[in-house]
Symmetry: D4
């Protein structure tokens, strides 16, 4: 049971690392790869088509600008693909990244999260894996309770 974390460029790594940290904290195995839709299209096809056989259960794909990686990966596998729109240096305030990941045609969905929200992509992957795994689900419940406590603590301290 593994999560595949891919991104279009080395420069996306600092943001995508937040997804990895989440997976680590839930002890979910993962693999991290740079897969550029436009500069390594055949590697992308290979990656996506072999993912199920490698034991990947969910794919998290981050990209910016005309961000085709999440949607193209989704078109090449039936695994759920989570798209992270990245506000990269060549992006127009993130609008291009968001729209080219979110607005997929009927038939091939991408589970899109907020701009730069790799942490939430990681959490969503964990939630998807928790659907059939009570241990992960309980870990998520604990995570949420802790998160709630921190806000309530912040509230006490103001």
């Amino acid at each position: 049971m593994k999560v595949g974390v891919i991104m279009g460029s080395k420069s996306d790594l600092p943001i995508m690392q937040e997804a990895v940290e989440v997976l680590k904290s839930f002890s979910i195995p993962y693999e991290v790869q740079i897969v550029s839709a436009h500069r390594t299209p055949e590697w992308m096809v290979e990656y996506a088509k072999t993912a199920i056989d490698r034991g990947v259960k969910v794919i998290i794909a981050g990209a910016g600008g005309a961000a085709h990686l999440p949607g193209m990966t989704a078109s090449l596998t039936v695994l759920p693909v989570i798209g992270v729109p990245i506000k990269s240096s060549n992006s127009i305030d993130g609008w291009d990244s968001i729209l080219s990941i979110l607005q997929m045609p009927n038939g091939i969905p991408v589970a899109t999260v907020a701009l730069n929200a790799a942490k939430n992509a990681g959490l969503l992957a964990v939630q998807i894996l928790s659907v059939q795994d009570k241990t992960i689900q309980n870990n998520l419940i604990a995570f949420r309770e802790n998160q709630t406590k921190q806000v309530l603590q912040n509230n006490k301290n103001i």
Copy 2:
């Protein structure tokens, strides 16, 4: 194993019905409810907090305008929540629906699909359920192959 399909208003039903049709075609059990974040907030809390116990595995939530239903539902359960931004009559070309579903803060993700893309929300729910279910996964693969065939057939006929 059940998918919960909820929407903010009766007027969202024609669009959300497309998600239901997908679930039916994959023989996935489902429940359909109108749950308004703003007009029935306590019903929303109840719905979300009891979903796991009712056997719901994935929630699909559609809403338009200041669309708080998907994000609020997600905050009340650790089940994966798929958000469908609806271009309702009170929406500004759909931008409000998209941004208030997509831009969730760290900690509470919503798996957002394209504007009005209830069909893709249904497919994404099926893909999430397929993660641990080979039969559903095979059905998805067959669905995709059929979809591909239709495009290739359309191509032959032009």
Copy 3:
């Protein structure tokens, strides 16, 4: 007679403090709380549903990104709720904050002010309280006259 000032995150405090300063300057009692719609939904329900009984007359709620706090609070009380869209770090130039606060459906209004305009939220709360209180109204008139004088003075000095 009290104004409730709430915000989705500790990081919103520097901006929301401007609302507090206005209330102080008009000698209006207030309470300040961190209430996260997504990380403390039950605390939000409790806060909103008990506000009237605590003597709160107006609520000022600030949030950024998919900003659900003002609208959800408004759905849980009949007190007037003033929404402050905050251009937080996870916001897309503030558009998401504005649209998810402003575009409330019929039935549940939020009195939205400009992006980051916590000062104006404070003033609007004072104006609402002044509707039945001549002293506050006179203080507002004096505030406005002073404001006018400052501009006219600036004009003399250029």
Copy 4:
């Protein structure tokens, strides 16, 4: 105790009438006037400066395009002013109406509601009046309960 309902043009009346209907249903006295910021600026000044003396407690102002009426009225009185951005024929999808009402400078707030949301403007005016009037507050609570019931009924009927 009266609500002033003003609008920039006769053509705004069908939308602004929804505010009037709300006021009627809560038995709140009101006055309706056409006050164009640009074509009758002196009438606007007179209207706003005499509103308090006429017993007006809240002003609802609707306008479209470069919508200056709500903000200018707010600058001429300390009464709370609710702004209704109208998607008139000369508006760019409503963006101009929204931004020129919402984005008021510090010192002069306008309580902005959603695009074309005159009904919510009426409700917000009632909520403001209810701050010191238990009868109106109870009527609002009843209105909300009824609204909730209708959604729950719709839910039963699907």
Copy 5:
């Protein structure tokens, strides 16, 4: 023969000064005033209504955010009013400033220039004055020729 240069706030002066520099360079008399539509509405009315009698021929008005000064001034005089949308600190990337100046209703035009383009506002004022003044027109022609020469010179030097 005089150009009136007004702005909503002292903080607009660094930008509006560019209009003044243009007027100086063409030896056009001018007056500079801070006139806030929202904080000094009566001073604005007085300024605009007495402009013709003071010998003002063209008004340049700069403002940001919900920028009502150019349009309101235009509604109070038949002099041509040039609007300069300013990207002030409370503006949403300038969109609010542009739309609330540009999108005036039929009957009251504002001659809008580009965001922060006070220099062009100055040049447009000069062009308007040149319509009946051959000397100014010749100075403009010389200005343009010089401008052309500089670009051609830059081209030679690359």
Copy 6:
């Protein structure tokens, strides 16, 4: 003393005709021409460079999409050029028309009016001509007074 009314395409005529009607109603001579920046660039150069000699005092130029006609005309003459952004069939909700007319670089201003606001372009041309012509100025004052009366009359009739 003449106003030149030009437009990029025959299909712009219904909108630009509103400018012509204004000029007629003020008894201002005018000429109407189709001048396409992209399909007749040399005719555009000729038109703009000979305008002063033909007695043209102000040019009104309407265009849609990548609307280059107003700015290019302005670059070829020192006459004031009024730009009318037209929401033509190939325009993206008018945004392209507005931005490519409004956002002129320093040195070459275009006096931009609202989307499709050819009537206001006509009025602005009249206002520019009135700067040195008391008769036209008085006609404008009468036009404004009449406009004001109509709104006040509409107000009486509601």
Copy 7:
């Protein structure tokens, strides 16, 4: 010497047909295919990778929404690819189509034309072919002269 015209869906054909008509009118051979990036990704790879060997010189690719076809095709061949953003039913006013075609990363350009501008895509293909072919270049010059004449004729007839 052939132009490949591809599109993501049968429903794009009415618009893409305009490109075909241009090619016909210049007697340029062409092939037309439906190639969906998301529903037939492998057919897309095959199409793009064999295009040079089939004698294709330029590819015109039209798509809407999250429009990945032009960019992905460009990544799979060194032939120039012209992208036509289509305002399809699932597009948000065309913004998604434009941004996901235009904003390609460094290394893989797509020659993007205006929204729905298949005619211009056809002309651009012809212009590219004319670079080394005097006959086509002369035909283009004749086409332009005729286009100019039509505008001048329209001008005479108003």
Copy 8:
């Protein structure tokens, strides 16, 4: 065989230099000129109309704000014109630059690349020249292979 690289202002040179570097690396001859549509319109006409005779095969034109240079150049020659929207200091986040280059009317296409993507403009020019030149095409294939290798190498190193 030459590529013409032009730009509206000296300040565009740092970005446009990236196009030049690409041309150099493919050993394609080029010329670089500053040609301002608005400040040197006649030089622009001359440049564009003589380009074919000077042996220019493709023109790359960069400009920002109301960016008329690419479209006007395209209207004056049948050579393919590649437009580079530049996010210059007077641009509104690049939207004005993009829309005034991209949204050309039928009849006069501009091959638009991404915001600031002068490198891609250079590559597109090389691709256009490669249509009839196997050596350049082979160089492009080698460039792409190298680009792919770098991404795969980056992937190995993470």
